[in-house]
């Protein structure tokens, strides 16, 4: 793994070649491996080592970036030269800020421990053993399985000529399992910096049970249903709205929060924060400029209370017509590497569950549902309307009818067209939030949710 000392030594070599006013080095990468299986056997098995070295220069109020994956002297010289040449040909940008200074990331601040030897030491044999056990579960239940078991160890480092040094390293383990029966399927997925936090066999058993229970799916008519979404389905759906949660999205007037910050947009039971320090979260405690991430309350009891801001965005918003319409405007450490068009977004979402006395497990939600549908997973979600935040997509890999408080068998998959604004006003119950992982959005800490009037518009053939 590329150490902090090595990052600093590399930056010294970058600086030697730079004649810019300011210079920034962003290093990312590491080692990753992924074992993929299908039809009860390993079908693909890959390993990769790669680091990127990305240089940004500020030159007379202009900025540009160039990236290479080579650390030799000539490559470093060329990448600095490329960034400089790209910066030179632009007009000066009056909104460009000096780079963040050393105080933007105090290394003595909170540093979540997210690098585990128990994860980084996993090799191809250990991954094969895990897959072998998953396949055994499938064979025992007369099912066919497909999925992945993946591990990685990565580094994020940002250093600049104003003395800033932000460095983070972490591991990740991930397992995703599909179990296939002749006319049904089930799915489970989990990930964590620490591979000991989930058991592939347990995931396989749950996925297998879903495949068995949803066999012989019947067709229900499209319409509005009371729906219980498991955490992965919740995050895949809600993930689409957080790209609108930055100050730059408001300035660009492309956010569904334009004219809505400070209003009670969602139900009273909805509270959302961004918190990279949450014990179930992962990722670096700094943003794309190396600025320390702050905890931000995005929604409190249904009211949109705050957005997130990169340094430059906060400055621009303060000077804009929106300055007094958005609540607190300050750099929150959520910017993407500069230059970029998006600005910032909260990527460490924590959605509170219900109040303690109202939290329900998924089983309890099912028991309390007379007529409804249980959804394991959603798929191919896309935005239909950017301001009403209408999304379309499909259910997948375990969709069940609930009747009289019990699972009443599998049903054919539905297409939904659902406004997220309406959705978050219709939440009836929530579970304890858990770390969840889907396929359409980034990982979050989210509860399962029971929703009324979820809008299914069509049904497919399986």
């Amino acid at each position: 793994m590329l150490t902090k000392d090595k990052a600093q030594e590399t930056f010294a070599r970058v600086l030697k070649h730079s004649h810019a006013d300011e210079t920034e080095l962003l290093i990312g990468g590491g080692q990753s491996a992924l074992t993929r299986f299908a039809n009860n056997g390993i079908t693909q098995n890959v390993s990769e080592k790669n680091y990127s070295l990305s240089v940004r220069v500020n030159l007379d109020g202009r900025t540009a970036r160039a990236t290479t994956n080579k650390f030799d002297e000539e490559s470093i010289r060329r990448v600095v030269e490329a960034a400089t040449n790209l910066a030179k040909v632009q007009a000066a940008d009056p909104d460009l800020l000096p780079m963040a200074d050393a105080a933007a990331f105090d290394p003595a601040g909170p540093a979540p421990a997210r690098n585990y030897f128990e994860t980084s030491s996993i090799g191809p044999q250990e991954r094969a053993t895990a897959v072998e056990k998953i396949v055994q579960v499938a064979q025992k239940r007369k099912l066919t399985t497909a999925g992945i078991y993946a591990t990685s160890e990565s580094v994020d480092a940002i250093l600049n000529s104003r003395g800033l040094v932000s460095y983070h390293t972490q591991t990740s383990a991930e397992c995703s399992i599909t179990m296939l029966a002749p006319d049904s399927s089930g799915w489970q997925k989990s990930n964590s910096p620490d591979a000991r936090n989930f058991d592939p066999v347990e995931l396989a058993e749950v996925a297998a049970e879903k495949a068995k229970e949803s066999a012989g799916p019947k067709e229900l008519p499209p319409g509005k249903y009371t729906v219980i979404l498991e955490p992965a389905a919740v995050l895949d759906l809600l993930g689409f709205m957080f790209w609108d949660w930055g100050g730059q999205a408001i300035l660009d007037e492309r956010s569904f929060l334009n004219n809505r910050v400070g209003t009670k947009l969602f139900g009273e039971n909805i509270s959302i924060s961004d918190d990279v320090y949450h014990p179930l979260q992962s990722g670096a405690p700094f943003d794309g400029e190396g600025v320390r991430k702050q905890q931000v309350k995005l929604v409190e009891n249904g009211v949109v209370t705050s957005l997130v801001y990169a340094r430059g965005t906060a400055e621009k918003v303060r000077k804009s017509e929106f300055a007094n319409k958005l609540g607190p405007v300050r750099p929150t450490g959520h910017g993407f590497p500069i230059p970029n068009e998006v600005g910032e977004a909260p990527m460490n979402i924590v959605i509170s569950g219900g109040a303690d006395d109202k939290k329900r497990t998924i089983d309890e939600m099912v028991k309390g549902t007379e007529d409804g549908i249980l959804v394991t997973r959603l798929w191919y979600i896309r935005e239909v309307d950017p301001y009403e935040k209408i999304l379309t997509g499909m259910t997948r890999d375990g969709t069940f009818q609930i009747k009289g408080g019990q699972i009443f068998g599998g049903i054919r998959n539905f297409r939904f067209n659902q406004s997220l604004v309406t959705f978050l006003n219709n939440v009836l119950e929530m579970s304890e939030p858990v770390r969840a992982s889907g396929e359409e959005s980034f990982d979050m800490v989210v509860p399962a949710m029971k929703i009324r009037d979820f809008n299914f518009t069509e049904v497919t053939k399986f």
Partner: protein, 490 residues
């Protein structure tokens, strides 16, 4: 150090260990991205990535390892790692991998490129984008204007244990823009020449001139603003006409993905999904109406599509496979290790990898619908339609994981009445079931209306790979299609 020497280090390690097959791809990938937003430079960046990926077949199973370090020590360690991984894979296999035979090739190829985009002036490119930006924002009501230029030079050296030694260079250019108008409770958007970054082809900078970007900017911005006053697209069953770019995406989602044989065989079951197009349907299923003819064509003769090459990433020459012939389903996208499952003696040559650090997998090449053989312009097609809706430029797209049920939305629609384009419609959407939809096609415009579109962002695989695919299409008409269900109150 020559690339051939580097490849030799890897293949020697594999040979010494007695592998069944080995290949190494060394890739030098260079990209430039330029954009503007609301009168200012958005981003300006260059990137380059050089490395090697080694794939080996040992004990009947695959292993792959990749490194950015091209020193002898690193390459030999990486080859050893690929081998170790293959042997681990072999512990959990149902059957041995069977490779369709292929000859060894020694060749050198470059995609046609008249003007190397990396030799063009960055200053002038930014100036062009800013002129487009100014033209878009000259229209009152435009709240956001974005324009982009993207260049890529992808150079690959491929060597395998059969003796192939293939050098290929692909140059890709993408260009486009979008205008947004926010007002009341609606954000309206128009893009040109297509959404999601515009048009992309394996061409040089000459593409930028061909697209007439500046000339169309005012119209596009005016349409974005006018959409606020347009009527909502109605709900019901209508005859619909899709413009060629929307038809290109329709092909991508409802023909291109279902014909991927790895998906059919369950290899993608956990992520990208499977396919309704199970193998017993080959040469039996009536996929579309008699005028539906679709090919998977990677050859240079098909045009400068993002799926054009001379050899795929396991050294198989580019081919043209008939996918749908007069409506009948006739062919899959295949690889050397899947060809035998449909009784094919040879791979269809569709394996591609997104860079040196990714393993090749079955990807769409240029999946194109052939134009009508009778001369027919879009105007004539509209004139022959009594009551319908014309859909232009994709806005949203979604399809289930077996590729039956789809729903598409476009940025703008137009009512057709009495053979004439009538009122503008906002938020148009249509949906259906794949085979029912293609069997409802009753007209397609001729070659002069046909465009080879580029889709630069097709995602598949784990770790996910993003690949460019090509889709030739001409405007076409479909009868009795369900329209408007995306906006049924939700």
């Amino acid at each position: 150090m020559s690339m051939k020497q580097i490849a030799g280090w890897a293949l020697d390690v594999c040979h010494a260990q007695g592998v069944q097959y080995a290949e190494i791809r060394i890739v030098d990938d260079r990209q430039r991205a330029l954009s503007t937003k609301n009168g200012k430079v958005g981003y300006v960046s260059d990137s380059e990535s050089l490395g090697a990926g080694i794939r080996v077949l040992a004990n009947g199973a695959w292993g792959f390892a990749a490194t950015e370090d091209l020193t002898r020590e690193s390459i030999e360690i990486t080859a050893g790692r690929a081998l170790e991984i293959a042997r681990s894979s072999a512990r959990v296999k149902q059957e041995d991998v069977r490779l369709a035979p292929e000859k060894a090739y020694v060749d050198d190829w470059a995609s046609p490129c008249r003007i190397d985009p990396f030799t063009t002036s960055v200053e002038q490119n930014i100036d062009l984008l800013l002129k487009i930006d100014a033209e878009l924002r000259a229209v009152a009501g435009i709240t956001l204007a974005e324009a982009n230029l993207n260049f890529r030079r992808y150079e690959q050296w491929f060597y395998n244990s059969d003796g192939s030694d293939i050098h290929q260079v692909k140059t890709t250019v993408g260009a486009g823009y979008a205008a947004y108008a926010f007002s009341g409770n609606e954000i309206m958007k128009r893009s040109y020449p297509n959404s999601f970054g515009g048009q992309w082809q394996d061409k040089g900078y000459e593409l930028v001139g061909e697209l007439k970007l500046l000339e169309n900017a005012r119209r596009i911005a005016e349409e974005a603003v006018a959409l606020h006053k347009a009527d909502q697209c109605p709900q019901g069953n209508y005859d619909i006409i899709l413009d060629s770019s929307q038809l290109g995406l329709q092909i991508h989602e409802s023909i291109g993905h279902p014909i991927e044989l790895d998906r059919v065989l369950g290899m993608e079951a956990n992520f990208a999904g499977m396919s309704f197009l199970t193998t017993e349907k080959l040469r039996k299923l009536k996929y579309g109406s008699d005028i539906v003819n679709v090919v998977a064509d990677a050859t240079e003769a098909h045009g400068p599509g993002l799926g054009t090459f001379k050899y795929d990433d396991e050294g198989v020459p580019a081919q043209c496979t008939p996918v749908i012939t007069n409506g009948l389903f006739t062919g899959y996208l295949t690889s050397r290790d899947t060809a035998h499952t449909i009784g094919a003696e040879r791979s269809g040559g569709t394996m591609r990898a997104d860079g040196w650090n990714r393993v090749p997998m079955i990807r769409m090449t240029n999946i194109s619908i052939l134009p009508g053989t009778t001369p027919l312009t879009l105007d004539q097609l509209i004139a022959s339609t009594d009551h319908g809706i014309f859909f232009q430029t994709n806005r949203s797209w979604s399809i289930d994981d077996k590729r039956y049920n789809f729903q598409f939305g476009t940025e703008i629609g137009w009512e057709i009445k009495g053979g004439k384009l009538g009122r503008m419609l906002k938020n148009p959407s249509y949906s259906g079931i794949t085979t029912e939809f293609w069997n409802s096609m009753d007209a397609i415009c001729s070659r002069d209306q046909w465009t080879l579109w580029g889709t630069p962002n097709c995602g598949k695989g784990q770790p996910q790979q993003v690949m460019g695919t090509g889709h030739g299409a001409a405007p076409a008409r479909f009868r009795g299609i369900k329209v408007g269900s995306a906006y049924k109150a939700g």
